[in-house]
Subunit: 328 residues, 2 copies
């Protein structure tokens, strides 16, 4: 029963966010800049980040209505990174549509991304009634972290030896940092004290870590129909995911040689996916990933215990649990 109530509330928040996104660039000129910006934002998705921000404001005793602009700001931040990352990663498709640089061109995508960063700050400022310096600082540090994370991710593509420790550092910047921004700013908008903001940021960071490893796991265990993308893509692209690095750490003999070939050839062929999946399973790697996801999720939830129960904190709790049970 509670689950349905939370899902309903998520849906209501999502609807409000979508309505605001629709109007975001109305009547803005030049069209050569704002049509691509609009395109970048209208691709849908879970809108996880703005919802996280809104729930954090609520959890810290604030009102949803005080945080909608900031919620849009983090969604714009997220989409700016997708726009520029797609260029860097040569990813022609994003959520079933041409990536921005394919729909328009690379120059347009660079400029639209830049403008989105500034637009995010512009919206964020509208919800800075107090704690402005801290809010802008957290947001700014988030962009720096994400850039550093992306830089490390690109570096890993061509490096032979990447440790799990380095991998965790990379995803803590590339993925978890933005979720930390969402929960931290959510708290600050509510005027929360240092301790509450710290708890919320800790939740965001751990959730982000769990979220990314879950992503890595789904790539190999998901049901292709529900998943929406090809299972095993990370292996095909030769990505150094949690599962791959863990398998490399544990595998011996021929198995290890086979894994090293993925690095050497920068990926595998589609018809090899099953044989690599078998190696992962032989060494219990999916179970390791699940344990790691559980560990981070528990850390996220543990911190929340210190916050009083309210719609915000209860939904953050529900959200952490549903994210680790997601199938896409």
């Amino acid at each position: 029963m509670k689950k349905e109530k939370y899902e309903l509330q998520y849906g209501r928040l999502l609807e409000k966010i979508e309505k605001r996104i629709e109007k975001l660039f109305n009547n803005k000129k030049p069209a050569s800049l704002y049509e691509p910006c609009k395109y970048a934002l209208e691709s849908g998705g879970k809108r996880l980040r703005p919802v996280l921000l809104l729930l954090s404001t609520k959890a810290a005793g604030g009102k949803f209505n005080d945080a909608y602009n900031a919620a849009l700001a983090v969604e714009i931040f997220h989409n700016f990174t997708l726009v520029h990352d797609d260029i860097m990663d040569n990813s022609p498709i994003r959520r079933g549509r041409p990536s921005l640089y394919k729909k328009f061109d690379t120059n347009t995508a660079i400029l639209a991304g830049d403008n989105l960063i500034a637009f995010a700050y512009k919206l964020l400022l509208k919800d800075c009634q107090k704690n402005t310096n801290q809010i802008i600082e957290i947001f700014t540090q988030g962009i720096i972290d994400v850039c550093e994370g992306q830089s490390l991710d690109k570096e890993f593509e061509t490096r032979r030896n990447v440790s799990l420790r380095e991998y965790r550092n990379m995803i803590s910047k590339k993925t978890a940092a933005l979720l930390t921004v969402c929960t931290g700013i959510g708290g600050l908008i509510a005027g929360a004290n240092y301790e509450v903001v710290r708890i919320l940021m800790n939740y965001g960071k751990n959730l982000g870590m769990a979220f990314q490893i879950q992503d890595d796991l789904l790539d190999i265990t998901a049901d292709e129909k529900t998943f929406g993308k090809k299972v095993g893509s990370d292996l095909i692209e030769g990505k150094k995911t949690y599962l791959f690095l863990k398998a490399l750490e544990k595998a011996k003999g021929e198995d290890k040689k086979k894994l090293l070939r993925v690095i050497k050839n920068s990926g595998i062929e589609s018809n090899e996916i099953e044989s690599y999946k078998s190696i992962y399973e032989k060494y219990g790697v999916p179970e390791d990933a699940k344990k790691e996801i559980d560990k981070y999720t528990r850390s996220a939830l543990n911190g929340l215990n210190k916050l009083p129960d309210n719609e915000g904190s209860l939904m953050l709790r529900w959200l952490a649990n549903s994210l680790i049970n997601r199938t896409k």
Copy 2:
């Protein structure tokens, strides 16, 4: 005598700025991100924007020492735009060195540019002791303006009809907006009231307009040795500069046809520069440009009359005069 004193003081400020720039990215990791950031900033130049900011703080009754971080922030902002513009404009050379995307690669240049934006905010925040919301708002609006200006500039490249009015709107965003940011933030850091900030921003905007048209004029009238780049480059590239658009407005018959050919062919050959220069001169276009530069410079200086004389306001006055007499 005064002139020499001001030049000396400019030199002193420049030296302090350079020293701070040198240390900016020391020990920052990953190197794959921060080496390009360092490269982007160490190319020298006049450092006009940080000096403008410092002088504005002084003019509004503040101290240089309260504004060095903000001064670096506007210089970083400027260099971020150069890094991304060079990709978009296919400009392989910047200040006599390979542009960042040539020295490294396009992906690195995109990411370094993104990181520079955030780094600029990070530094700016350090000097936000008061007026934070206004300072961040002006800075953010500056980035949006510059993106809009760049978008218009790219749009003009492929458009047949561009009016002088549209040109002025474009340069007011692409060039003048950032100088407006410098003078406005300089004033706000000093805690200046609305009227003083308005005067300073008005000065920055008019100076920026004069500065850009002077740039357009120098392209055709400069002495190649002092200028440092090829005279007539704008014509070769088919740029719709103030001079070109003014000539197009005034020319008749064969002259007009010849100018229209520049648009049709997206530029001219090196050996045609002299003949186009003759058309400009026949219709008095360089004089028109000079009048326009004078008009904007006078507007910039007139506003300053309302500020009390001090080192800052006197140097802003001197700066406006020396910029219109520059030869490079």
